[in-house]
């Protein structure tokens, strides 16, 4: 076992477990907001995340392709309205990501 506990096989495999789909800052902030609510619309995500519309749209599409979120179209007062919510897989992926990050960062010295 190496003298430095933060080098070698014991520590770096944990970093390898980090889900890169979740780890991207833009997607992480989207998932974080969706994790604490049942669902939110695009305006809500746009305002809360501070992302540009193009950026938000791109990352939402990636998360949808990964199966982490579901986009639902509905009509409110005869106007189209888009709601986004986490899937069970997305919620679980976020929970695992959170635990992995806590494990990795928790092992670091103060």
């Amino acid at each position: 076992m190496p003298e430095n506990e933060f080098a070698g096989e014991d520590f770096f495999p944990k970093l390898g477990d980090i889900n890169r789909m979740v780890h991207s800052p833009a997607r992480l902030v989207i998932l974080t907001y969706l994790y604490v609510v049942e669902s939110g619309d695009l305006v809500y995500l746009l305002r809360q995340t501070g992302l540009t519309w193009g950026n938000l749209s791109t990352h939402i599409n990636k998360l949808e392709e990964a199966g982490y979120i579901v986009i639902e179209k509905e009509f409110r007062n005869r106007k189209p309205h888009t709601l986004v919510h986490l899937t069970d897989d997305g919620r679980e992926a976020f929970r695992i990501y959170k635990q992995n990050m806590l494990d990795v960062l928790g092992d670091l010295p103060a």
């Binding site: 604490v36 695009l42 809500y44 189209p80």
Partner: protein
């Protein structure tokens, strides 16, 4: 000046509450939602809001009962000082709970103003012999004016900071 009865007073309060509730929903639909978006809260938040609603409803009911008591005893000073004091404390508790759970610090100040209005009206009545039919509306009107000015300033800032987003544009992304 002819006094209106407790029944009419409560009916006016109920009508005002009904109108306020309607105005709140209209503002949410036409002002807040297009600018800040809509969100459905998760179960944890829903349970928390449910508990808060029960607590606030109970406190509001206590406030109404005390209000009726005050109106009924208002010609028997100092007999109505106790319900007035409890009413004031209850106001501060209700507003403080709302401020804390809704993360809405301005409500602390509004609670104090609301609670003080009753006491101040009585003091005006005692010190200057101003009829309560005038002192109550004057004090409540002044304090309500302060709240309206604060609310108006905050609303204007909000409207400037968050312009309305076109949902049609956003939904045309595909």
């Amino acid at each position: 000046m002819e006094e209106i009865g407790i029944g009419w007073t409560l009916a006016m309060l109920a009508a005002f509450a009904f109108l306020s509730y309607g105005a709140f929903h209209l503002a949410k639909k036409h002002i807040t939602a297009p600018r800040m978006g809509l969100v459905k809260f998760g179960m944890v938040r829903k349970k928390k809001l449910k508990k808060l609603t029960i607590v606030l409803s109970g406190s509001a009911l206590l406030g109404v009962i005390l209000f009726i008591l005050i109106l009924a005893l208002k010609n028997t000073l100092p007999g109505w000082m106790l319900p007035i004091t409890i009413f004031g404390v209850n106001c501060i508790i209700v507003f403080s709970l709302g401020a804390y759970f809704l993360d809405f610090p301005r409500l602390y100040g509004y609670g104090i103003l609301y609670a003080l209005a009753f006491q101040l009206s009585i003091l005006l009545n005692e010190w200057f012999e101003l009829n309560v039919n005038y002192s109550f509306p004057a004090v409540y009107g002044a304090f309500a004016g302060i709240m309206v000015v604060i609310g108006t300033v905050i609303s204007i800032r909000f409207l400037r900071k968050y312009p309305r987003l076109s949902l049609d544009d956003l939904d045309a992304r595909e």
